[in-house]
């Protein structure tokens, strides 16, 4: 029994990062209706950057968040400005193919630079744990969860209380209306994509102490993000957040109930189940 509770706890802890990751995807979709196929790869680039800073300069991944978030933020804005902007009006298939192209480039550039072998970051306190009753709490996981929560909260506050944030929300809710009141929609799109990317870049830093990763991990994160966002409702930030916790828990429980090496299968089967169970019209009311 306590095995399951442990799995749930671990699932919630990792779910925090998943939530942050998914919130980024949801933001991008909510504002621009673009499905960022390269989302997981952006996260992996964040992880490689964090890894490099750690290995070269000894910077703790939790401290390098600011750098990775900024770097991926800029990358996101560049991708949006240079590529996505040109196809905002294009049919959806074209948008998907474009982002697929970006994903392929990102994954394989990482492959060329870093090679296929998995990397890990071993922070000095990686093995620190503490107990509450029979449940073990991994220090890195707890810190990751806490920071992810704080960042997500920060994002919500930013969107709710700042002018820029309100502009983004307005454009997300009602693009035409926002245009009518003079919003520079292009700037909002670029910013939103950047912020969404920054979320996932930060998530990358947070994930680095927890898992080994390689270029192909990107696809796994992308699929997980899609899973979460489809469950939570495309475009709903709160839904993405809750969904992240849910997916983290189900993944963790799945690893306990099934052979751990089948973890990846679980996420794909989950995806199929979600696709079928959530008829298109009900995905958060947006499409």
């Amino acid at each position: 029994m306590s095995l399951y509770i442990q799995a749930i706890v671990n699932g919630v802890l990792i779910g925090g990062v998943y939530s942050l990751m998914a919130v980024g995807l949801s933001l991008i979709f909510g504002v621009m209706r673009i499905i960022n196929f390269a989302h997981g790869d952006m996260m992996v680039w964040g992880m490689y950057l964090s890894y490099w800073l750690f290995v070269t300069f000894g910077v703790d991944p939790y401290l390098s968040i600011a750098i990775t978030a900024t770097a991926i933020f800029l990358l996101g804005m560049a991708v949006q400005r240079g590529l996505v902007n040109r196809i905002v009006q294009a049919p959806h298939e074209m948008q998907i193919l474009l982002m697929m192209g970006v994903a392929l480039v990102m994954e394989n550039v990482a492959l060329m630079v870093w090679g296929p072998d998995p990397r890990r970051v071993n922070v000095p306190y990686a093995l620190s744990t503490f107990w509450i009753g029979p449940i073990v709490f991994d220090l890195p996981r707890v810190v990751t969860f806490a920071v992810a929560l704080i960042l997500a909260l920060g994002l919500f506050l930013f969107l709710k209380n700042t002018d820029t944030g309100r502009m983004i929300r307005a454009a997300s809710d009602n693009r035409i209306g926002a245009l009518l009141v003079g919003t520079d929609i292009l700037k909002v799109f670029t910013l939103a994509f950047g912020v969404g990317a920054a979320c996932v870049g930060a998530a990358g830093s947070l994930m680095t102490p927890l898992l080994p990763f390689s270029p192909s991990t990107g696809l796994f994160f992308t699929i997980t993000s899609f899973n979460i966002v489809i469950i939570g409702g495309m475009g709903s930030l709160l839904g993405a957040f809750v969904g992240g916790l849910l997916v983290g828990v189900s993944e963790s429980l799945g690893a306990v109930i099934l052979v751990p090496s089948l973890k990846e299968i679980v996420s794909f089967v989950l995806l199929v189940a979600i696709l079928l169970w959530r008829p298109q019209g009900l995905t958060g009311g947006r499409r």
Binding site: A90, M94, L98, L104, F268, V272
Partner: protein
């Protein structure tokens, strides 16, 4: 008209004698080109004509490869027969995935995700099944025997690949001129409007999917007996699905020449990068594919062939 027919015949004749006069590396290049062009035709039926983008065609390819190999290795059945077994199973699998997708109204992005998930599930399952070789893969023993789809030298494979391409192109050509083909294109353009005009969109999408899957599987059998090694991470992974779909997309989805042109272009590009980036960094090829996808989407959304045709028409003013 006569000029074009004569050109066609000359080209065909040229293709038939070509393999005897070129070195082995060229033969391999041509075989690879024909074979990917054929796979592109198969993918195109569903993706270009019916407008349902599939990111999971590697799965059908895998059915063709693995089923024929298993039938041969365990039951001694010739791959010439086994390949139809693979095609049949691939078609059945496609109907399963198609049913889930089309009955539940998954379109566009959601359908792509479904096809991707289906292929990945196949890959992960294959990695865990020892009968399919697991992580080590299956080595197919080389015992040349035309009845067992194994040949000495490259020339027989050249002709098989060419025959596959001719066959695949013929199938697409026949579909294109038929009521079935017209309906597929209508579905691509606007599914609801097609329904309103009496098109049973579910049925036609399923047929297209099945046909596309079966054809792709035949290509898988060819691959198995040309490369002699099957491993799920090469045969069934997403990169392979991308390999299959990128040629028709770049060349021109929804046309017959598109996949062929796309295959030639990408083969040339591959040769170019192999020659000048001799270190051949793993991943460079696929990174280039990514760049190509981006370029095509931004500048040549209908693919190289239709854009070329349009440009030639404007420049030359010739009638089609």
């Amino acid at each position: 008209m006569i000029g074009r027919a004569a050109l066609g015949i000359a080209a065909a004749a040229g293709l038939l004698v070509l393999p005897f006069y070129v070195p082995s590396t060229w033969q391999n290049l041509l075989i690879t080109t024909f074979y990917y062009a054929y796979l592109g035709q198969a993918w195109n039926l569903l993706g270009g004509y019916a407008g349902q983008l599939s990111l999971g065609h590697a799965a059908f390819f895998g059915f063709g490869a693995y089923v024929s190999v298993l039938l041969q290795m365990h039951l001694g059945i010739s791959p010439w027969i086994g390949m139809f077994g693979g095609a049949l199973l691939a078609a059945v699998f496609s109907q399963g995935v198609g049913y889930l997708g089309f009955r539940f109204g998954l379109r566009g992005f959601y359908f792509i995700l479904l096809t991707l998930a289906a292929a990945e599930i196949c890959r992960l399952v294959a990695l865990h099944l020892s009968i399919l070789g697991g992580y080590t893969g299956i080595f197919i023993p080389f015992k040349p025997n035309p009845w067992q789809y194994q040949f000495q030298g490259k020339i027989p494979y050249y002709f098989i690949a060419l025959a596959l391409l001719a066959f695949g192109s013929a199938v697409v050509w026949l579909v294109q001129r038929s009521k079935f083909g017209s309906y597929l294109v209508a579905i691509r353009e606007d599914e609801d409007a097609s329904e309103a005009l009496g098109v049973d969109t579910f049925r036609y999408k399923m047929i297209a999917y099945g046909l596309s899957a079966a054809l792709t599987a035949l290509g898988g059998t060819f691959y198995a007996y040309y490369q002699f090694y099957l491993q799920p991470n090469t045969v069934l992974n997403i990169n392979h699905s991308v390999d299959i779909m990128i040629r028709p997309i770049v060349g021109g989805s929804g046309t017959i020449l598109g996949p062929v042109l796309g295959a030639f272009l990408l083969e040339l590009l591959g040769e170019f990068s192999r020659t000048y980036f001799a270190a051949s960094l793993a991943g460079l090829n696929v990174a280039i594919y990514g760049v190509l996808l981006i370029v095509v989407v931004l500048f040549l959304p209908r693919g190289v062939y239709p854009s070329l045709r349009g440009w030639l028409r404007r420049v030359g003013g010739s009638a089609e």
